[in-house]
Amino acid sequence: MGILDFLKRKPEPSAGVAKERLRIIVAQERSTRGGPDYLPLLRNELLEVIRKYVNVDVEAVNINLERDSGHEVLELSVALPDGKPAP
């Protein structure tokens, strides 16, 4: 770093943001990996249906495919927003 570098603005430390974003997306992609290809589509259509009634975020819908010995369980959870339900 030389004298002139003091005039340049230093980049903000951003590794923390990168790590947090990766942690979330990697976990999400792992949960649907190996499952049927329709899972992301199913997730989007469910989201649309739910949004007819409640205004929820994309991240509020969570789909999980669990494999137990011999059978698979599709687990679906929707986090509803705080406050009054939609009329």
């Binding site: 974003r21 990766l22 792992r30």
Partner: protein, 270 residues
């Protein structure tokens, strides 16, 4: 016993071919008989990094199609007599490689007594990448400390444990090795770059090596000499350590501490 090692990553430009060339050369330096195969059909490049581009007569696809014998297509390295290169074809036909064809070539290399076959995978998750990993016993997943590379390598780790012969046959899983390249400890210290630990935490697997970002890597590719042969570069030494670890030796990670600049450099730059 022949061990097949795939060098893969998902994302392009992270250092697969650089790693394949150095890994193959490093194993040859340890006295192993090694073949390194370029699986990037249509975009041949390993020959350039190995410095044998003007000696390619027959390629991988020629052998698969029976147009040349394996012995005719294997290019003997000019520096190490137990190291051979099999170049990729320049054909645009993406279906030039078949699973049966690849298996035939690998079986022939086994019969020839090779200790290691290093498969340099193309980027992506298409057919070429699939074939490069399918028969592997070990995988070296090359990753840069950068978001898209880390995400892609997680995808590749998933494919390695599901879409390979070992996975399909229910055999012992492929041994996965994570190799972090283009690492810059100064930027990590400044909080601008993911650290070794960050990448290990996200992917849930520990690294087999960390290759520091180095000017010598470009110089090595310019010259067609694998960087592992450059004794003056940290990247070369880091590759040597990595090869030793893959061979089961215990070596501490090096070159992870920021390089402190001297007073003059701090004032005048450089």
């Amino acid at each position: 016993m022949t061990e097949i090692i795939v060098v893969t990553s998902g994302k392009g430009g992270v250092g697969k071919t650089t790693t394949s060339a150095s890994l193959a050369t490093g194993l040859a330096l340890e006295g192993k008989k090694v073949a390194v195969i370029d699986f990037d059909v249509g975009l041949r490049n390993l020959d350039l990094i190995m410095g044998c581009e003007r000696r390619v007569v027959y390629d991988f696809v020629n052998v698969v199609h029976g147009e040349a014998a394996l012995k005719q297509a294997l290019i003997k390295d000019k520096r190490h007599e137990n190291l051979y290169v099999l170049a990729a074809s320049q054909t645009r036909d993406k279906d030039a490689l078949t699973q049966e064809g690849v298996e035939k070539v690998l079986d022939e290399l086994k019969a020839e007594g090779f200790d290691y076959v290093v498969c340099d995978s193309p980027a992506g998750i298409e057919k070429g990448a699939h074939l490069a990993m399918y028969f592997a016993d070990h995988a070296v997943v090359v990753v840069n400390p950068e978001v898209s590379s880390v995400r892609d390598s997680d995808r590749i780790l998933g494919l390695l444990s599901s879409k390979t012969r070992r996975a399909e046959k229910g055999e012992t899983p492929i041994k996965q090795h994570l190799l972090l390249t283009r690492y810059n400890p100064n930027r990590v210290e400044a909080g601008e770059m993911l650290s070794v630990k960050d990448v290990e935490d996200i992917l849930g697997i520990s690294v087999v090596g960390v290759i520091p970002e180095s000017e010598n890597v470009l110089a090595a590719s310019n010259a067609g000499v694998p960087v592992i042969l450059d004794d003056n570069s940290n990247a070369g030494h880091a590759y040597k350590d990595t090869v030793a670890r893959i061979l089961g030796q215990d070596r501490p990670l090096r070159f992870l501490e920021p390089v402190k600049k001297g007073f003059l450099k701090r004032v005048f730059g450089g």
